[in-house]
């Protein structure tokens, strides 16, 4: 029971930290004007509430890696990247009214960031778990 709870805590922390880091990357892309250049209307303002929301949602999505916690490093990284597709689907299909609402390239950018988030989460899990 305690081992399961520890795993969940590690996954939440890894997902949350990866979520915060990728959110900062997302904000940087918007602040640098790259999103406007690509015709994507998603540049956010860096506020504590925005960052904190992404931190917690990243942690919650990270819990999806629980069944694969003990897998080999390569497999865990691959699955991490795969799990990144799920938050992409949630953003594109649930949060937006149409898949290309904020711009034609927006789904691609969201997918890229979510896959990076998944890889970062898996990498952090590898750093946290016992060898």
């Amino acid at each position: 029971m305690r081992e399961l709870a520890r795993r969940l805590a590690f996954l939440f922390f890894a997902g949350a930290l990866a979520g915060a880091l990728t959110s900062l990357g997302w904000w940087l892309l918007g602040a640098a004007g790259v999103m406007a250049q690509w015709g994507i209307a998603l540049a956010p303002e860096l506020t504590p509430a925005w960052l904190e929301s992404h931190l917690v949602t990243g942690g919650l999505w990270g819990l999806l890696l629980l069944p694969f916690f003990s897998d080999a490093a390569n497999r865990l990284l691959g699955l991490g990247a795969g799990v990144g597709i799920l938050p992409t689907c949630h953003v594109v299909m649930v949060q937006w009214t149409s898949p290309t609402e904020p711009g034609a390239l927006a789904p691609v950018l969201v997918l890229t960031f979510c896959v990076v988030w998944g890889l970062a989460t898996a990498g952090l899990v590898l750093a946290l778990r016992e060898a």
């Binding site: 305690r2 709870a5 520890r6 969940l8 805590a9 590690f10 939440f12 922390f13 890894a14 949350a16 504590p48 509430a49 960052l51 904190e52 929301s53 931190l55 917690v56 949602t57 942690g59 750093a127 946290l128």
Partner: protein
């Protein structure tokens, strides 16, 4: 390094979970008109508070792995920091007004500290209490 990172992860996750629990309890008390009314439990209100709990919980990592009583005491002392901040600077949670406001704020954060300490000590694997000096083996 890995061990310390693990302790940070455990303390932070414990802080997040403890904050969510206290948030729900405070909201229920508010609805029952036992305590001050809290903001509705929507993602926009809950997620930033849970993140605050996770961040405030991180310093407990220093004390994880010690005896239960030490972890609990450390968590309760650490809970004074967000309580004082909310009371003096003001913050969105817990919503409180009137003469009992400081007691509500301190109580909510102390409860958070208590839950954080229990979760942290359990997850961190606090060693069992050793018999006292005067006891026979």
């Amino acid at each position: 390094m890995r061990a310390f990172l693990q302790r940070v992860a455990l303390a932070s996750s414990s802080g997040a979970l403890a904050c969510y629990g206290v948030l729900v309890l405070a909201s229920l008390l508010g609805r029952a008109e036992v305590g001050p009314q809290q903001a509705p439990l929507l993602a926009g209100n809950v997620l930033p508070r849970v993140a605050e709990g996770a961040l405030w919980g991180i310093p407990l990592a220093v004390f994880l792995g010690r005896a239960w009583s030490q972890v609990m005491l450390a968590a309760l002392v650490l809970s004074l920091a967000p309580a004082l901040r909310t009371w003096l600077v003001g913050g969105p949670w817990p919503a409180a007004s009137g003469p009992w406001a400081p007691a509500w704020i301190l109580g909510a954060w102390a409860l958070w500290g208590g839950v954080l300490g229990m979760l942290g000590a359990w997850l961190g694997g606090a060693p069992k209490a050793r018999p006292g000096r005067g006891k026979r083996r």
